[in-house]
Every structure is written in structure tokens, then in C-alpha cells.
Amino acid sequence: MTKTINITLKIWRQKTAQDKGGFETCHASGISTDMSFLEMLDVVNEQLTLDGKEPVSFDSDCREGICGQCGAVVNGRPHGPEKATTLCQLHMRHFKDGDVLAIEPFRAKAFKVVRDLIVDRSPLDKLIQAGGYVSTNTGGAPDANSVPIPKDIADKAMDAAACIGCGACVAACPNAAAMLFVSAKISHLALLPQGKPEAAKRAMSMVCTMDELGFGNCTNERECEAECPKEISIVNIARMNREFFKSAFFSAVM
């Protein structure tokens, strides 16, 4: 049933990357429980604007849980308290009247705050640029059915490929590691015959780039898996390590 609730927000405000930033309190009243979290923020922003204040900057685009553009930490949890849910798909029915919510940007050494809840996630693009592709040019591809791929392999590749690149795994990790993100891409491609030829090289390059970009190491905290809105499994990290060791071995014997 739809009802309305009043909540208190403690929102991180920060003008620029250099700015120190801090929490500001504001009240969201008459919030319909059918609203999404971002619609709640829209309502708050409309009010701030009318009150002559600056609205809170936050990222979003598809608002369907697929583009990966949204994201913030709500009461200590990336994308909020619901399992397998992006912030744009989190609905206010999961909160109670009178709740106090602390909202802050994804925090990680590799992600600089741009403004308020917006962070710079371009290091994730750099990771893909380091090898998250199959080196094939447009044109000249063989018939799509020329290489059968067992359904379970295709399904596993799809499980890994479902990553939306939101960065919640990095924000959730005490070491701010990008292991889940990188391993999902490495797994997706290594599982498929099309990605196999470059699997070792890809793993080596992506893992090294991860270090260069300031992402931390994996110490098996499993927070990434718990917070991933697409439930990407840490099995991928094991698969990545296999590919990485293969490539390390390969380069050692060469």
C-alpha cells in the first residue's frame, strides 16, 4: 500500500574535488513509498531550488538499474540496504517514517569526488581499455553459428557480462579493489572461444593496470559480492587468478 513518510537526510556536499566537503542535513517530507530513492532526491532538489539553495548533484540516467550511472552510499551501504538493487531501483517502501539516512559518494582512492554524490569512475574505463575486448575489427567475422558454444558456458559468460560497471564493488571493498569488476570482464571473455586466444595477455594487462590506477588488493573480504547490484559472483575472481597465473607462468617461461 502506498503511504507517505518523512525522513531526515544527511547528505554529503562537496563543491569540487579539492573542496573538503561535509554532511548537510535536510528534510524530505511527504515522500510516497512508491517513489524510487532518486525520485525522493528529485523532490528534495526541487525544494532546495525553490528555497534558493543549490540542489544536490547526483548521477543517474536509465533509472532502470542497467546503465550503472547512479550510485551512492546509503547508511554505509553502496546502493542502499536492499540486496541486488541499484539506487535508482531502490524504493522508499523499504524505509520507515522518521528514518535518518546518511548519503555519501562512493569512496575509493581511485575514484575522486567530482561534486556532492558524483565521483569520477573513469579508471574503470581505463581498465577495459587495458584489454577488456576481443581484438577483432568490424567485418570479416565468420558466421555466428560456425562455433557452437555449450549453453552452460554461454550462460556463465553472460552471468559475468551482466556487470553494469557502477563501481559499487570498489566502494564496498575495504581495500577499494576493483577485483570483481576486472574479474567479471576477464571471465566473460575467457569463457568464450572468441575471447580465449587473448585470455592470458588480457588478464596480465588488466591486473597490472588495476595496480597502476590505485585500486587496492583483494584480501577476500567478499563485500564486493554482497553489495553488487547484479550479484556478480566472486567465483569470477578465482577464474581471473587462474588466467593471471597462466599468463605469469607463460611470460616466465618465454
Binding site: 525520485e39 528529485d42 526541487e46 574503470l124 577495459i128 567485418g139
Partner: protein, 636 residues
């Protein structure tokens, strides 16, 4: 003026022949050309990657923080291709014919045929990139049938086809970024097109983080900036989808084709409150197994499971026995509206119909249905807090896609030399109504397989003097864009940008939506003019223009929607027929279907900007059908 440049010869040979006739750029010379691609969706992403692979230097722009987040990512259902892997009678010809017919015979034959031909290569290309399409146990690719098609030609990756296709294009793009052939400019918004000596030679873009204006010069400009569905405020499009890039090009002389052709998708989650920021599509694939119905008696408020079979009206199955729940989108949407207008709508607002899986679950079991639609059911439940395995879904039509766009010739070049337009941003292949799973196909065909050839023909055959990005034309465009921003910021009125946008959306939905009439359209035109003038007096844009300012970004887009919406209305008023997504109540058959007027309106309507105070000038491209016979669409 409107030269479609369709090559001669038989339909099936036109593209081959054209490829041969197009001039080639010498491989060593390609690196001397600079190409701007605005947009990183399926159209832009595929184009930028493919052009860079050929050796061109590419600059690619997008609004999002990463090219991977372009709106194409949200496509769920699938992508068509005439592979005929299912041996069920599909062919290039059938895909061509279905697309032309589905578009209500308002698209160019030659373009649509080429699209059907290229569809086959797209799937090969995507599989080579590692796109994990759904497969059968034998390891071969799986297909399903999709809205309006009687063959299974749709390839899919669970309910995330757009995501996987875009990630494929993005991976190819990333590879080119890594080797320096593409320079990526994320969080940039193109605010104007720059023309030098009558040729498109660059853009002015705003850096959305620093607020700085940037000039970018090139030898050709490719726009792949998506559709303008957000003119309705509520749509299934992403928040940043806009008309700015194409509308600015229109104001620089590019013709806008069929702006009134918009698609209202039948299966979306109904509107539930005024705070709502967007509408969520429930993939059309659901109509393969879900049955659409409403109670037979108006005002019946019983819970769905309390309504016995004999008191349910499966209106699509009854009215269209051969297509049933799979009629094309425009037909399904209009019928849902008709049922609700009769008072038979369900849910709290009465603006919804049921999409019921009870019988499919009984027939195939919950597991099978779950495998096909699990993630969609989950998404529905997340939003509505209702479980579609137990309670029928409630759906209602919502704005989804815009068939209209910048006019392009067979080369996908607009009437401005050097300005190419791809994907949803152009007007081309879907006529007055797009079939499901055909937009992804078109975006990728345009980007991977058409532009790499046709842009070469242009560059090789055109004199392109060197220009600098500080040329006076750039400075003028930049100054104009800047002064618009200053003007908007200085108003400091009493209404927010979203408030204006919502009001505009409501006007468009009420009068220029699923069904239209002259009186309403004329009224809407005046309402829009008034709203626009109020906007420029009373909008409030907080903050400054010197850094990241999301209100300002939206204000610029809404300002353009407030002008562009009027063009849609003018176009709707001048098309004195109903066809596809354009349904004027004055033109319908006895059975309330769209009645075309092939004698007088078998053409593309295009509009030329003539000044803010002037009516736009109308030009038409007559559509000639040499290979198909125009029929009244019937799905009975």
C-alpha cells in the same frame, strides 16, 4: 533539394553496386582525416570504433561519464536478423517486407532492404566480439519471435540485449581509445554544429564538469545522439536523452524528417504519481506468453483472480485473431487506450490493462516462464511490489521511440554536406512505426557497416580546406551558445526546470500522443508558445555556469524541447492521414484503424528552419515503392 541518392538497379543489388561506385579513401590518407562522432550508443559507438579501425582519427563525445552508459544499454528484448537459423521461412526479403509494412509504408525501400541485408552481418560481428547471446543446448544461437513478427528472428541476451550489444561496441571502442585512434570526450554536451563554407566542420560542446565551452574541428561530423522521446517528459528513455544536438543542427539548416512520428510502447508500468521521473518498459517479449485483458464490464473493481473467465475481455485476441497479443505496438497501444477510455481500465488510476501469465504458467510451468522472463518479473516486482507469477501485471502504453529525426539520404548524410546522422537520431528506416528489435539492428547497421563506406565516399570526393577550431564560425557558435546559457541563468524566476518540462510533457501527451485531432493540436500549439515564453521569463536555474550544474544541463534541453515540440505539432497537423504512430482521429477506417492516404501522403515530410518568428518551410521526399504493393495493414 531532397536528393535521396538511392542507387539504381534491382533492389537486392543496390548496396553492392553503391559500395562499388563510392570513391575510396587511400588507406594512407585515412589518417589525415579527423571525424567527430557525437554519441556513444550503438550507432555512435559502432561508428567511432569502425572508423578508427579503418585509420581515421576519431573524436567521440557523450553526455554520460562513460561511453558504456549510452541509452542503448537499456534495450531489453532483442535484435532482429534475417539469419533464418530456425528454418521457419525467414529471409532478407521477409524482414525487409515486415519492416516496410510495420512502418505503414512510410520508409524508403532501398534503405530498409539494405538494413535487412546487413542484419545478418551484425550477428556475426557481435558474436566475434564476445557478445553472449542466448544459446540452445546444442550450442547454437537461440531465437524468439518478437512483436509483430510471425517468424523467430530475434537474437537476445536474457533481458539485457542492448547492454550486451553496447558493451560489444564499447569494447571495440575501448580498444581504439587505448591505441589512440579515438579520443573520448565523456561528460560533454554538444550545443551547436559548426558550419564552414556550407560544410559541417565541427561542434561546440560544453564540458559538463568544468562548464567550459570547447571548439572541436573536423572533416565530417556524425551525429548519433538518439531519440527525442523525452519531449513528453515521461518516457522510457534515459534521463539525459534529448533533442538538442539534432535540433541545433536543424537550426543550422539540416532538415528534420517526420518529427510527429513517435512510438508509444504498449507494455510499460503505469504512471503512479506526479513525482515520477520516468516510465519503465516491460519488454514486449512478454506478449509472447502473456495475455492482455480487461474486465468486460466498465467499472469492475474486483481483484483480477475474482473475475471469472467469462467476464474477461481478451480484446486483442478477439479483435485480431491471427496476430492476437502480438499485433504491432501502435495497434496494441491504441487498443489499450480505447479500453481505458471505455472505463474498462484497471488499477488505482483506471489507466492500465492486465498482462496475465496464468495460462502460460499452467501450460509450461513456472520454471520455464521464469527462465524466459525471470529478470523482467523481478524488475516489475521491485517497482510495483507485486508478484507477476501470482497477480497479473498491469501495463499501460508509454512514449518509447521516435521514428522522426534528421533527414538523411542513402549515404546517411543530411542535406548539410559532411553531416551524417545515425541510429535513432535519423528519420530513416522505420517509417511511421518501428517493429520491435529493429532499432538495435538499425543502430549497429548504420555504425558498423554503412557509415564506414559512405563517409569515405564523401571525404574522397570533397574538397575540405584545412580549418582551425578558432575560426570565426566556431567563435560565433560558441558565443551564441554561451549567451543562451547566460540568459537562462539570469532569469532567476519562480519555477524549476522540471516543472516546465512536466507541463510540456503533459501537453504533448494529451494532444500529440496516441491519438490526435486538429482541434487539440492547434490548442497545444498555443499552449506551448505560452509555456515557452513563460520559461524565458520565469525559469529558475540555480548555481553557476562555471562548473558542474545539472539544473543548467536540463534547462538547455528543455528550452530546445519547448521549441521542437511545436515542430512536431506542425508536422502532425500537416499530415492529413493516419499512419503508424501518427493517428489523427479524423482519418480512421470503420474499424478504428489508421487510414492512410497513399495518394497524397506517401512521402517523407521534412522541415527547414526559417527563423524563430517564421513558419518552417515544408519539403517532401516522395516515397516510391517499386517492389512492394501498398496494402492496408491488417492483423486480423
Amino acid at each position: 533539394m531532397l536528393e535521396s541518392r538511392t542507387p539504381g538497379g534491382p533492389l537486392a543489388d543496390k548496396w553492392d553496386r553503391h559500395q562499388f561506385e563510392l570513391k575510396l579513401v587511400n588507406p594512407a590518407n585515412k589518417r589525415k582525416f579527423e571525424i567527430i562522432v557525437v554519441g556513444s550508443g550503438l550507432g555512435g559507438g559502432a561508428a567511432a570504433a569502425s572508423l578508427a579501425e579503418l585509420g581515421y582519427n576519431v573524436k567521440c563525445f557523450c553526455i554520460q561519464d562513460s561511453p558504456r552508459r549510452a541509452h542503448s544499454i537499456a534495450a531489453q528484448g532483442g535484435i532482429n536478423a534475417a539469419k533464418n537459423y530456425q528454418n521457419d521461412g525467414d529471409s532478407i526479403w521477409r524482414l525487409f517486407y515486415d519492416t516496410i509494412k510495420g512502418g505503414d509504408f512510410r520508409a524508403r525501400e532501398s534503405n530498409v532492404y539494405r538494413l535487412a541485408q546487413l542484419s545478418v552481418n551484425i550477428i556475426d560481428q557481435c558474436v566475434a566480439q564476445g557478445v553472449p547471446f542466448a544459446r540452445e543446448y546444442g550450442g547454437l544461437l537461440a531465437n524468439r519471435s518478437f512483436g509483430g513478427a510471425q517468424v523467430s528472428r530475434t537474437f537476445y541476451a536474457r533481458g539485457q540485449t542492448g547492454q550486451q550489444l553496447l558493451l560489444g561496441a564499447y569494447s571495440a571502442l575501448s580498444r581504439q581509445i587505448a591505441i589512440g585512434k579515438v579520443t573520448m570526450f565523456p561528460r560533454r554536451e554538444m550545443l551547436d554544429l559548426v558550419m564552414v563554407n556550407g560544410q559541417a566542420r565541427g561542434i561546440v560542446a560544453r564540458n559538463l564538469i568544468t562548464g567550459e565551452m570547447e571548439n572541436h574541428a573536423a572533416d565530417a561530423v556524425v551525429l548519433a545522439t538518439g531519440g527525442y522521446g523525452n519531449v513528453f517528459f515521461l518516457s522510457t528513455n534515459a534521463m539525459s536523452s534529448n533533442v538538442t544536438a539534432t535540433y541545433r543542427a536543424y537550426k543550422k539548416g539540416a532538415l528534420f524528417g517526420n518529427p510527429c512520428f513517435t512510438q508509444i510502447h504498449p507494455t510499460c508500468i503505469p504512471v503512479h504519481g506526479s513525482y515520477q521521473s520516468k516510465l519503465t518498459l516491460m519488454s514486449e517479449s512478454l506478449r509472447n506468453d502473456g495475455r492482455v485483458w480487461v474486465p468486460k464490464t466498465p467499472g469492475d473493481t474486483r481483484a483480477p483472480d475474482q473475475i471469472p473467465e467469462s467476464e474477461r475481455d481478451y480484446y486483442l485476441e478477439n479483435k485480431y485473431p491471427s496476430f492476437g497479443n502480438l499485433v504491432p505496438r501502435d495497434v496494441a497501444s491504441r487498443n489499450a487506450k480505447e479500453q481505458c477510455d471505455l472505463g474498462k481500465g484497471v488499477g488505482e488510476t483506471g489507466l492500465a490493462v492486465y498482462l496475465d501469465f496464468r495460462d502460460a504458467i499452467k501450460r509450461d510451468g513456472k520454471d520455464v516462464i521464469g527462465q524466459k522472463y525471470g529478470n523482467l518479473f523481478q524488475m516489475y516486482e521491485k517497482i510495483t511490489a507485486q508478484n507477476p507469477y501470482e497477480i497479473p501485471m498491469m501495463i499501460y502504453p508509454a512514449v518509447h521511440y521516435t521514428m522522426g529525426g534528421l533527414w538523411v539520404d542513402y549515404n546517411l548524410m543530411s542535406n548539410i554536406p559532411g553531416l551524417f546522422v545515425l541510429g535513432e537520431a535519423n528519420f530513416s528506416d522505420h517509417g511511421a512505426n518501428r517493429l520491435g528489435a529493429s532499432a538495435l539492428m538499425q543502430g549497429l547497421a548504420d555504425g558498423y557497416f554503412i557509415i564506414p563506406y559512405t563517409i569515405g565516399g564523401y571525404l574522397a570526393g570533397t574538397s575540405l580546406p584545412k580549418i582551425s577550431s578558432s575560426a570565426p564560425e566556431f567563435q560565433a557558435a560558441r558565443k551564441e551558445a554561451g549567451s543562451r546559457i547566460h540568459k537562462m541563468m539570469a532569469i532567476n524566476g519562480n519555477r524549476t526546470v522540471d516543472d516546465f518540462h512536466k507541463q510540456l510533457g503533459k501537453i504533448m501527451w494529451d494532444y500529440c500522443g496516441m491519438s490526435r485531432n486538429d482541434e487539440g493540436l492547434s490548442k497545444a500549439r498555443i499552449m506551448i508558445q505560452e509555456l515557452r515564453s513563460e520559461f524565458w521569463k520565469n525559469v529558475r536555474v540555480p548555481g553557476t555556469d562555471g562548473d558542474l550544474n545539472q539544473s543548467l544541463e536540463r534547462a538547455g534541453r528543455v528550452a530546445d524541447f519547448l521549441e521542437f515540440s511545436e515542430l512536431m505539432i506542425i508536422d502532425a497537423l500537416t499530415r492529413r492521414e493516419s499512419c503508424g504512430g501518427h493517428f489523427n482521429e479524423a482519418f480512421q477506417t470503420d474499424e478504428n484503424e489508421a487510414r492512410r492516404d497513399d495518394e497524397n501522403f506517401c512521402h517523407v515530410s521534412t522541415w527547414e528552419y526559417a527563423g524563430d518568428a517564421q513558419e518552417p518551410v515544408f519539403h517532401k521526399e516522395p516515397l516510391e515503392f517499386e517492389n512492394v504493393h501498398l496494402t492496408q495493414r491488417s492483423y486480423k
